[in-house]
Symmetry: C2
Subunit: 122 residues, 2 copies
DNA sequence: CTTTTCAATTTACGGCTGTAATCTTTCTGA
DNA sequence: TCAGAAAGATTACAGCCGTAAATTGAAAAG
């Protein structure tokens, strides 16, 4: 039920646009990786077996679409990190990056806005 | 140079207290895992070979202490997640948890405090 | 000095992952 | 209808990981 790093790059393509044929996935990944076509076929198959994508027949080929949502994936990954390293909470992570001076201006501005939003019940 | 999940539990013990003998590490992990002693010896050795811990002879045994700091480990793990999923920034992660209503009162209070601190140059 | 006994090191092994080649099936064009 | 091509499915294989047993080496005890 868990998705490996390589598999998640395939999911990225499908989250971005779907349904797609295997060939289209291969074309999209040619830009960001140097994987051969059979490699990507393997990854699609593993994702199928895991139930992370589904395939619908379209003539002689299949069209793939994600079953797992990107938001759910992101959440599972993030929660796992927070649980392991930050007592399951978000604030200690922010504190860590703040201590290391790794918050950008943009981050700080956005955090302010978020806190403001939350404050008036948004 | 990267530390696996099982290895990180061993590091946790050493970050908590060091130097420790292998036996002491085994004793500490007996509480949280059901690993056998040889398993933990293996993990200590792998960490040694990776340079994540060092060992100092003490009679017939060794005393282990971490070379990699917990803060550096936490940072590397967190940065990797942020890079993969949140465009390398902290704020989008906070936004994600906010959208999912996964920020505790405690989180929100602490975030407010952090932003306040940053604002007057702390 | 020899034997026993620990602690550490080496070896083991199945499963998952990254990476891919090969085989099989099924359209499609001749 | 038969051969060639295209797509998917199966098989491969080395490295890492979780988990641990077996071996070695050195210290302590007799």
């Amino acid at each position: 039920m868990s998705i490996s790093d390589a598999e998640s790059l395939v999911m990225d393509v499908l989250w971005n646009e779907h349904p797609l044929s295997a060939d289209e996935v291969v074309a999209a990944l040619a830009k960001s990786t140097d994987w051969q076509e059979p490699t990507i076929k393997t990854l699609l198959n593993r994702l199928l077996n895991k139930g992370a994508v589904e395939a619908e027949r379209d003539g002689r080929r299949y069209l793939y679409r994600p079953l797992l949502s990107r938001a759910d994936y992101v959440h599972a990954e993030s929660k796992s990190l927070l649980d392991r390293l930050f007592d399951g909470r978000v604030a200690p992570l922010v504190a860590h990056f703040s201590e290391r001076r790794k918050l950008s201006k943009k981050d700080i501005a956005e955090l302010k806005r978020l806190i403001g939003e939350i404050d008036n019940g948004a």
